[in-house]
């Protein structure tokens, strides 16, 4: 039924009327997952034609393979006590890599923490990864944050922040500025289906719609937030269905399917930049690893469940596709993998020997300049360390020798 009376409302609603007393069903919207590749890496019959060229495909593949190796190796390093903490991307490599591949380099990436593949795709060096994980003086972050909290101004990858969801309205504000700058850039903002419960999610998406910010909200629905299954996280149909509430276009995509992710994000980026509007993308995959190196999933899910999903490997699926395309050679691939393994091992060994940042870095960057009170605290601390060098082995040697040199 149309409008029953003709007062124009300022309430910002579609003003049709009804005489029948009925709820809108909680199931009024149901959003299918967009797919291209089947589990074996074959194109579905009737699938859309891929626009991904060979170069991009191989770069995506190489990135995924690299991250898989890196993750395995760093987890092992954590187990050996060489680093304190680690988080794997396992199971979500396609979602993260292919989405990053659909962007332009000038686009800003706001990640949650499980998106090292996006950073690798941008070209973050193995050394940079290592130095961050070892909190050494070559870490771009100056050794201040826990492992995996990467960031790079040069690569337009915003430094990771542990508090969940905070990057969502930040991405909106950043993208709003990109719109004002008028250079055709946008932002992508990754977050888990768990983080999507935070108030900052609501703030960020609503503001992006209202202020017309070109931002791609990329929800990684991987079934778990630490131990909490998605069924205890929300009752709606995933995250994508929230788009309509914000007046925002949305799409759901199979996150194990690199081709599908790539096409969906490319379309979304186009739309966002052309129209100055946000788009909500939901990727469906499975967090196959433990939440982090501190977590043991056997406390909340079965090995059977995990095994079930282990077979659904995004890298294997994409690899089959590449093989079928004749873009990849199995033998070369094995060789490349071995090489990467060796490079990672070497880099690890180099990186763990690099010193921690100089003591001064404890007080820099709190403000642009070190203010007097912090300078005083630093001086006192230095004197203290000189008095008790054995108690502060990471920094004492350098301070003591510097001080002696100065004398």
């Amino acid at each position: 039924m149309g409008k029953l009376n003709n007062i124009d409302n300022p309430n910002n609603i579609n003003s049709s009327d009804t005489l029948s007393l009925e709820f809108v069903s909680e199931h009024a919207l149901s959003i299918p997952s967009f797919k291209m590749l089947d589990a074996s890496g074959k194109m579905y019959k009737g699938a859309m034609k891929s626009t991904m060229d060979k170069k991009t495909a191989l770069r995506i593949y190489a990135t995924m393979r690299f991250v898989r190796v890196l993750d395995e190796r760093m987890l092992a390093a954590q187990r050996q006590g060489r680093i304190s903490f680690y988080m794997q991307c396992l199971g979500e490599e396609a979602a993260v890599t292919a989405s990053a591949a659909a962007l332009e380099d000038k686009d800003m990436i706001f990640a949650q923490y499980r998106e090292q593949a996006a950073l690798a795709y941008r070209g973050f060096s193995l050394e940079n990864f290592m130095n961050q994980n070892f909190s050494n003086e070559k870490d771009l972050g100056k050794g201040r944050q826990m492992p995996i909290h990467y960031g790079s101004k040069e690569l337009n990858y915003m430094t990771i922040s542990s508090p969940l969801g905070t990057q969502i309205p930040q991405a909106t504000g950043y993208a709003y500025g990109q719109k004002l700058d008028g250079e055709g850039a946008c932002s992508i903002c990754y977050f888990g289906e768990g983080a999507a419960s935070e108030g900052d999610f609501h703030a960020g998406l609503n503001m992006a719609a209202v202020h017309k910010a070109p931002v791609l909200f990329f929800a990684r629905n991987n079934g778990y937030a630490i131990s909490t299954p998605a069924s205890e996280q929300f009752k709606g149909d995933g995250i994508a269905c929230r788009g309509v509430g914000y007046g925002m276009k949305a799409i759901r995509v199979d996150g194990v399917d690199a081709l599908a992710v790539y096409e969906a994000v490319k379309m979304a980026r186009d739309y966002a930049v052309t129209n100055n509007e946000p788009v909500l993308i939901e990727s469906i995959a499975y967090r196959l690893a433990a939440h982090s190196s501190s977590d043991d999933p056997s406390g909340y899910r079965s090995k059977d469940e995990e095994e079930n999903f282990r077979e659904n490997c995004p890298i294997a699926r994409f690899k089959s596709y590449l093989l079928k395309q004749g873009w990849l050679d199995e033998a070369q691939d094995e060789k490349a993998k071995d090489e990467i393994r060796q490079q990672v091992l070497d880099a690890l060994k180099t990186s763990e020997k690099i010193e921690v940042p100089a003591l001064e870095e404890l007080v820099t960057d709190v403000y642009e300049q070190v203010p007097p009170h912090l300078q005083r605290q630093y001086e006192q601390l230095k004197q203290h360390i000189i008095k008790y060098p054995e108690a502060y082995p990471a920094t004492a040697a350098r301070i003591v020798s510097n001080t002696q040199e100065a004398k």
Partner: protein, 325 residues
């Protein structure tokens, strides 16, 4: 020079800054066409357009999240929180994000171009939620600057410095004085340095310290005390974080006595920090205990507002107690 009230002075600082720098935005609840519930931003949308001066949805955590993102891109970002009492939904974005942005990234990124403007303080029959002075909640947060103007002239000069500062600032505006504080204010741009307290009046017997609207209170109390021959040195702290220890120490070394007065409840307020630091720095020179004249340790009440407030009579009594110790 022109006569301006504090709102006009603030508006003038904003207008000049936006004029100078195209990459700047002003936003918050109702700040757009309407010009804010106190009208501090009035006329700005007309001058600079809807893209640079705009209303946000009603979500403080979003305003500050958005602001952090925009500032990270290098925009001069001036966000308004309608009342300081409503800054708490944005606490995480300010304390965990704004304050730590530069440090955690090793200076890869920063939000140094961010200014948060917010009206604070009581004495306007605002009850629990239109009266709070929440500076102490932020003062425990390395990375932030907290700035308070005491009058119209200071407001324009300090706000200009805040906007030009490369570190994030919360600019607390004493709403009780928005229209009450009227004075000569240059129409052109000028700035007053951050991080520097001002000795508003020299004196020799006792130092009185406050910030924002409370400076007026200690001035009133000092006038009473001077009648009885007590010479008061009056200091406006102006920047609460990082604060100017040196100026306060020098004053107390001279007078041997200190009273700090703040609007907020006494326990764990910023006056406590000042007292703790000064007793340490001036231990051998103190002739009486450092006293704090503050709000009571209750929520901000309505019917008993007068009784609750740290008024000039309470400060005056404290001066006498200190001098007669």
């Amino acid at each position: 020079m022109a006569k301006m009230n504090m709102l006009q002075a603030i508006n003038s600082a904003l207008s000049i800054a936006m004029e100078e720098n195209k990459r700047s935005c002003v936003f918050g609840e109702d700040v757009g066409h309407f010009g804010g519930v106190f009208r501090a931003t009035s006329g700005l949308q007309e001058k600079f357009g809807k893209e640079r001066v705009f209303n946000t949805p009603l979500v403080e955590q979003g305003i500050m999240g958005f602001a952090n993102g925009l500032a990270a891109l290098g925009y001069t970002t001036i966000a308004e929180i309608q009342f300081a009492d409503y800054i708490f939904p944005a606490f995480d974005q300010i304390v965990n994000e704004t304050a730590k942005f530069r440090y955690r990234s090793g200076n890869e990124f920063n939000v140094g171009n961010l200014v948060i403007r917010t009206p604070y303080g009581g004495g306007i029959a605002g009850g629990l939620y239109h009266s709070q002075s929440p500076e102490a909640y932020f003062a425990h947060t390395p990375g932030l600057q907290l700035v308070f103007p005491r009058n119209a002239y200071q407001a324009k000069g300090l706000l200009t410095s805040c906007i030009e500062s490369n570190d994030p600032v919360i600019f607390f505006e004493p709403k009780r004085l928005y229209r009450a504080s009227v004075g000569e204010v240059p129409e052109e741009k000028y700035s007053i340095p951050l991080g520097k307290a001002e000795v508003v009046k020299q004196g020799s017997d006792i130092s009185l310290l406050a910030w924002g609207a409370q400076v007026e209170i200690i001035e009133k109390a000092a006038a009473m005390a001077e009648q009885e021959g007590i010479s008061c040195e009056i200091i406006d702290l102006r920047t609460v974080l990082p604060w100017d220890v040196e100026t306060v120490v020098n004053s107390v070394l001279k007078t041997g006595r200190l009273i700090v007065s703040q609007e907020a409840p006494v326990t764990a307020g910023f006056a406590s920090e000042i007292s703790a630091t000064i007793q340490q720095e001036c231990f051998l020179h103190l002739e009486s205990p450092i006293d704090r004249v503050c709000g009571l340790d209750t929520p901000y009440p309505l019917a008993h507002e007068k009784e609750y407030m740290a008024d000039h009579l309470k400060v005056y009594e404290a001066i006498k107690r200190s001098v007669n110790y």
